[in-house]
Symmetry: C2
Subunit: 300 residues, 2 copies
């Protein structure tokens, strides 16, 4: 299970009580931060998200509404005497910005930061249970989306089939991993005859800031939860195109073509005080749509 | 009259609903911003302080809790299509930090910024009615305080004395400016015999982050309102000294020695959830003391 807590759902500037982009993605073992607009640390405090356990931060691109809160968060973690290393994944240039600010303050963090520059679509983080892959989106400057995928769960042994074929206990693990069983009489028994599908592995795709971009559809195919920006409503599609942003309708079209389970809309323009029309517009194309609301935790 | 609106009164990190340092000082003609911690633009929005008319920003020093909100504010002003030039007064290094961040975003502001590096105690801004002087305080890195002084108001003519000495109208302006009158018979009549004191000229001193520092007393002598940091209570005086900060008692001692009219305490450590003890401690030394509360407008 993945839990996505929205800390900011507005674009460009804070407005109408909404904040610039930031989200926390939690698994049983990890807490990942995606983007870090100004005020993210205050939003964490408001929604009781403790930042101490975050060891990986993903910054989609270097427009300020996606990272101006990072220096403050890193500073506060230092003042709180953090010791664990922090890993930051972003386009090139961020390291220089952060280090310059610590240098002028003659400040020395009590924990190390490792900056990882994104430069190709690949898995940027993984452990036994999860992998995180970055992919390019289509924005005015270099910009990356991120997919969080639980690794495929082990298959479940089918006790009656195992008894029938007299499979020895020493082969159970192999079966759980999906391999076939070869009996003492050299008969191959297919894995699917001895096991059942394991529990579902959840996935979440964060599509950052992007114009309508069909290239991402194959990347995010079948994810359980898709966060796609929708800065504007369809009436302002031209503006969306010119600014490399999407409309609610376009976000829904991507969700539909990618066959995702659920769509979350966000990055709303400050032009809109009320965002309920985004959900209405998108759900005409893709029904299972919600507006990402700050402080709310969405499950995938 | 000067009106000081507190946007942030906490030190180092946001905590207990308190924000890092920022204040707006308003006169009839101007709106000045002093320091700009993270979230300042949100605080402006919360307290209905419109930033469009701010043309001068004073940054006391380059610790993050005093300027991490600046880049976001400047960006938002640009997105709001500001055209007027902005003047920023700060220690050296800020220009590079700001420009680097605009460069990586390939962002171009629609208004010019002039960076003024503080390097000596002097008047950094003045017009006919007000002058703003910077002065050094004693902090871990280069740090500046600012005094806002209304210029001396013209003296008021004393009608009966003018009639008695038959002063011609052509000399009134000279008298208002404080000069003596020389009668046709070459008799010198002292200005104070012909005029009265003009209206009071108000003054406000912002003392930034500083350890107890007697050098500032002569600078801020007799100001109407003094903002002096008090990061700690007296029980933690050693900590205050080690960190180049002050206690409430020390702030009050400065206020008393400088003979100011009123003391405002701020920059409270996050160690203190309740700040009422600061007022109690300081008022034992200097009675007319208040804690600077966010959203409150204090007059000088």
């Amino acid at each position: 299970m993945l839990a996505v807590t929205i800390l900011g759902n507005n674009s460009a500037v804070p407005a109408h009580g909404r904040h610039p982009t930031s989200q926390v993605i939690q698994t049983y073992d990890h807490k990942f931060l995606v983007d870090c607009g100004e005020g993210t640390q205050m939003q964490m405090s408001a929604y009781k998200v403790r930042p101490g356990k975050i060891n990986q931060i993903f910054i989609s691109h270097l427009h300020g509404d996606h990272y101006f809160g990072l220096i403050g968060l890193l500073t506060s973690l230092g003042l709180n005497n953090r010791k664990n290393e922090m890993n930051i994944y972003s386009p090139g240039g961020l390291k220089e910005i952060i280090e310059l600010q610590f240098n002028v303050a003659n400040a020395h963090l009590p924990y190390p930061i490792h900056f990882h520059v994104l430069n190709e679509e690949k898995i940027v983080f993984e452990d036994k249970k999860i992998e995180i892959e970055c992919f390019r989106v289509n924005h005015r400057i270099e910009c990356w989306g991120f997919i969080f995928r639980e690794k495929k769960n082990m298959r479940r042994l089918n006790p009656s089939a195992i008894a029938k074929h007299e499979v020895p206990i020493s082969c159970y693990e192999m079966l759980q991993e999906g391999k076939d069983y070869i009996s003492p009489g050299n008969k191959i028994i297919k894995n699917e005859d001895l096991t059942k599908e394991g529990p579902h592995s959840f996935s979440y795709a964060f599509c950052a800031d992007t114009g309508y971009f069909e290239n991402i559809i194959c990347k995010i195919k079948n994810v359980d939860l898709l966060y796609h920006e929708s800065t504007y409503l369809d009436a302002l599609e031209e503006k969306a195109v010119a600014r490399f942003h999407s409309t609610a309708k376009q976000a829904a079209t991507v969700a539909k073509k990618a066959n995702v389970k659920k769509l979350l809309l966000g990055h709303f323009s400050s032009m809109y005080e009320d965002v309920s029309d985004f959900q209405k517009e998108a759900s005409e194309v893709f029904e299972n749509t919600e507006c990402a609301l700050e402080g709310v935790c969405y499950l995938a």
